[in-house]
């Protein structure tokens, strides 16, 4: 697939758009449908498209597997940290009001941060899962070839 010129050209336009759309969903979630989860999925979808067209190895150069793994954990930690911050500032867990003086701003800050955490986790986990499945195929091939040599 990676040889197809037209696809490459289309993808070159499309992928940035998808990513941008993902970011829009992420940070516009309070005003329109969408939020961290959907954004993460869309963002990951853009990356997967990239991987399908340019090959997995190239895609992994953009975001290495190790980074996905770490970011996935970092995302949930971010979420949890916001909750802990609420406790540290004298509220309950996941209480956003103590974060800032203005209640609305505090809530919005809290919501945006946790949604971002969700977004990061979802995007990286989806990418990670895709990578694992796609990797598997090449690993099988390698083994089959080894096996052929042996026999």
């Amino acid at each position: 697939m990676s040889d197809n010129g037209i696809l490459r050209v289309v993808a070159r336009f499309l992928i940035p758009l998808i990513m941008l759309f993902g970011l829009y969903i992420q940070f516009h979630g309070e005003y329109s449908p969408g939020g961290g989860f959907q954004a993460g999925v869309v963002f990951a979808a853009g990356w997967i498209l990239f991987a399908l067209i340019y090959g997995l190895e190239d895609a992994l150069k953009v975001i290495p597997q190790r980074a996905m793994y770490v970011l996935a954990a970092a995302g949930v930690l971010l979420y949890a940290a916001v909750g802990l911050l609420g406790v540290a500032m004298g509220g309950r867990y996941l209480d956003f009001y103590p974060l800032l003086d203005s209640p609305h701003a505090a809530q919005q800050l809290g919501i945006i941060t946790v949604e971002f955490g969700v977004g990061v986790t979802v995007a990286t986990v989806v990418m990670l899962i895709f990578t694992m499945f796609a990797r598997r195929k090449s690993e099988w091939k390698a083994i089959l070839e080894e096996g052929d040599e042996e026999t």
Partner: protein
């Protein structure tokens, strides 16, 4: 008449649920099973969302001039549940891949009994 109409939605849900459930139990292929699971869950989502719908209401995003909103709570529930669903799908498929490697098939009917050495040992014991 209105009763029938008002329940139509629920019955669609029930029909979908039954199809999905059947797919899970009766189908041997693991991928099919997972698809069935998805169908099954989706039907529950529809049930949930249905419960939040208010006739004439609109998407629960605050706008000028809209008075009647549908209930946002079921939407939140379903969002979370969808995420759970996809997580299960991913894990299930990963398991299916490993099973394919280990057994060479993902047809559930062909698996299990063939190398159940406990059972074989038990039979041997009973014969004795």
């Amino acid at each position: 008449m209105s009763t029938v109409l008002s329940f139509f939605n629920y019955w669609v849900v029930v029909a979908l649920m039954m199809i999905g459930f059947y797919c899970v139990i009766a189908r041997g292929n693991m991928i099919k099973k997972i698809m069935g699971l998805n169908l099954f869950q989706t039907s529950v989502f529809i049930l949930f969302v249905t419960s939040g719908k208010v006739t004439g209401g609109s998407t629960p995003i605050l706008r000028e001039g809209v008075e009647l909103y549908s209930n946002p709570l079921p939407h939140v529930i379903v969002l979370t549940a969808i995420v759970v669903g996809v997580a299960i799908t991913a894990v299930g498929l990963a398991l299916a891949v490993r099973i394919q490697e280990a057994y060479g098939t993902i047809e559930d009917d062909h698996l299990g009994d063939d190398d159940d050495d406990e059972r074989l040992a038990l039979e041997a014991r009973q014969r004795r």
